[in-house]
């Protein structure tokens, strides 16, 4: 009897797209909104934390330690617990406890803490000599952060952004458990609670494909923003053409 009930509960294959694609769209909207907030807050915050540290452009150990602690607390809570613990705050901001709006708040908080660390780490890998050059060239602190620090770290930040987006897709699935909608919600309600293996398998495939696509686009952007990778991979080759064989034989010719 149980078996018949479960069999009846299964979603027929021809109804799968109608169930999954709106869910995927929800996930993408959720992650998109969250990532916009994360980048808008995380980049300046990461640059701030990096430059408050000893040797930074506005060194301030006390403020650096405080900010760093707050970020570490945000990073240390498992997402499910963070989400549950800030529910009153979420309701205060969005007026609701369920749905995409409610999921965006905890996801953004977790994402900002994550991304701030990624930006900070990327900026740390920019050689300090470059900042000295920018200072000696008469740059203001904001100019230096923009042109010497962030600009030089762009490929590394994009690499980190890729990791962050994938983490957010994962978080959106967890947020699905509080009725946020999206692929995660479908996987939990159909695949897990109703034992619908077909839906479960379909959501897994969709998630794998989405994550792979994000990674692929991220890698391509990293290559595009790193001159020596872009020009060596042969994707863009104006320089190769400009350098006739004769020119490349000249002493000190570019190592293309």
């Amino acid at each position: 009897m149980t078996e018949t009930l479960l069999a009846n509960a299964k979603v027929p294959a021809n109804e799968l797209p109608g169930l999954l694609f709106p869910a995927l769209l929800d996930t993408l909207i959720m992650v998109g909104i969250v990532m916009a907030i994360v980048v808008a807050v995380g980049v300046p915050l990461g640059a701030l934390v990096h430059n408050l540290a000893p040797g930074g452009l506005f060194e301030n150990p006390a403020l650096h330690t405080t900010l760093s602690w707050i970020i570490s607390i945000g990073r240390s809570l498992p997402f499910l617990i963070l989400m549950a613990s800030i529910m009153p705050f979420t309701r205060f901001i969005t007026g609701t406890n369920i749905g995409i709006a409610a999921a965006v708040v905890p996801m953004s908080l977790a994402g900002i803490a994550f991304f701030t660390r990624i930006v900070e780490n990327s900026l740390r890998s920019v050689p300090p000599a470059v900042v000295q050059v920018a200072r000696a060239s008469g740059g203001s602190r904001l100019q230096i952060i923009r042109t010497a620090q962030l600009s030089e770290a762009v490929p590394s930040i994009i690499g980190g952004l890729t990791i962050n987006i994938i983490a957010m897709i994962e978080y959106s699935a967890i947020a699905g458990t509080i009725g946020a909608g999206g692929i995660g919600y479908v996987a939990v309600t159909y695949g897990y609670q109703r034992f619908d293996q077909g839906v479960m398998l379909a959501t897994i495939v969709i998630l794998v494909v989405t994550v792979a696509a994000v990674q692929l686009i991220g890698d391509a952007l990293v290559r595009l923003t790193t001159p020596h990778r872009r020009l060596r991979s042969g994707a863009v080759r104006p320089l190769r053409r400009r350098n006739s064989p004769v020119a490349s034989l000249a002493p000190g010719a570019a190592a293309v």
Partner: protein, 382 residues
């Protein structure tokens, strides 16, 4: 911003003016003209930098004082850990000194507020070790960096960048990224960037470190040319003694944070008592003297040593001089260097007198040790 600025307004700020062409001509025709000798463009007075407090206080720079005139190249040499990098950072005020002053074009930079300092710093162009280029910008975009910070319009910046790249011989490489340039080319981009705002002082912090000898020579030649054309004052910080011979007018040796010895390069090289002079003279391995010969070390002591002195001195002494080792070269139009001679021991002090006539300072190893003893006795008396 800055769209209504004309080229003249941007560059004709006090202190960053291009030198008066007429004066440049005068300086070239009369390089030892007193007018130039006594117009320091950059002056360091008692510059001191210390880290920490109390027992942990370490003095990295101790009352460093020197000045560089318009069109002069001063080389600051010293071993690693002597404080050369700190000195460079204090000169362009990237690190504030603990005390002392850095005066450029008559203005004391150490008293300026952070905002004014940022403007004043434009009078000093800095060339860094291994160039320090932004890897995601082309050569042209790297040179444009200081212009961009200043707010120069794009069209104007493009014009100036083309000029600068052409000046350093990289017009063909404007669109190349740093990874496509050789070490020497990267450094040329660094030099062009340092000159973008028409500074009156160029600070070179180990700019030739890590370059091969040929590339070092080409960078040195470029710096000397730029000095001549733009009447730049150059502070050239390096640990390479042979590069100093090629570039410097004056030399100062930094040791344990203070200037141990300084002077005009030619004077130091022709001074047999100068330890910096002997460090600057090429080091060589001499042959062994024949039996009965005494080793004499001879240093060019005057600007007018005749080129044929070996033959003439042999005649005067009545014996042929054996040359065991020699290194002589032209520095700033003056022959400098030293010889190691093997001379029969019985000639004694006559050798010193005869060689002295030709402007040479001669000493034996024994007379050296004698002088040392005499000195220590004198010190004991004092």
């Amino acid at each position: 911003m800055g769209h209504d600025r004309s080229a003249g307004q941007v560059f004709d700020q006090p202190g960053v003016n291009p030198p008066d062409p007429e004066l440049v001509v005068i300086a070239k025709v009369f390089p030892r003209n007193p007018f130039w000798e006594h117009s320091p463009v950059i002056e360091l007075t008692n510059l001191t930098k210390a880290y920490g407090h109390g027992d942990q206080r370490t003095v990295v720079l101790d009352k460093v004082t020197f000045s560089v005139d318009a069109g002069e190249i001063l080389a600051v040499v010293g071993p690693s850990g002597a404080g050369k990098s700190t000195l460079a950072q204090c000169i362009n005020l990237l690190t504030p000194p603990t005390s002392g002053s850095v005066v450029v074009n008559g203005e004391d930079l150490t008293t300026l507020s952070a905002r004014k300092l940022r403007v004043a710093r434009r009078r000093i162009g800095t060339v860094f070790q291994s160039a320090g280029l932004l890897e995601r910008r082309t050569a042209a975009e790297n040179v444009a960096l200081p212009l961009e910070y200043l707010g120069v319009t794009a069209a104007e910046a493009r014009k100036r960048v083309a000029e600068l790249l052409d000046r350093v011989g990289l017009a063909q490489h404007a669109g190349h990224y740093p990874f496509q340039l050789s070490g020497g080319q990267r450094q040329r981009v660094g030099i062009a960037r340092a000159l973008a705002l028409r500074p009156s002082v160029l600070l070179s912090d180990e700019a030739t470190a890590g370059l091969d000898p040929t590339t070092t020579d080409s960078v040195v030649d470029l710096l000397r040319e730029l000095r001549d054309d733009l009447n730049l004052s150059i502070v050239f910080i390096t640990h390479e003694m042979d590069t100093v011979l090629k570039i410097a007018d004056s030399v100062a040796r930094l040791d344990h944070g203070s200037i141990a010895e300084s002077g005009r390069l030619v004077d130091l090289l022709t001074d047999p008592d100068s330890s910096l002079g002997s460090e600057l003279r090429p080091q060589r391995v001499d042959a062994e003297p024949a039996a009965g010969q005494q080793i004499w070390r001879v240093v060019y002591d005057a600007p007018d040593v005749p080129a044929d002195w070996v033959g003439r001195a042999s005649q005067d002494l009545g014996i042929p001089l054996s040359v065991l080792g020699a290194s002589v070269q032209l520095v700033a139009g003056v022959s400098v260097g030293g010889f190691t001679l093997g001379i029969p021991a019985q000639l004694g002090d006559r050798v010193r007198d005869v060689l002295g006539r030709y402007g040479l300072a001669a000493s034996t190893d024994e007379s050296d040790s004698l002088a040392v003893e005499l000195n220590s006795e004198l010190e004991g008396v004092a």
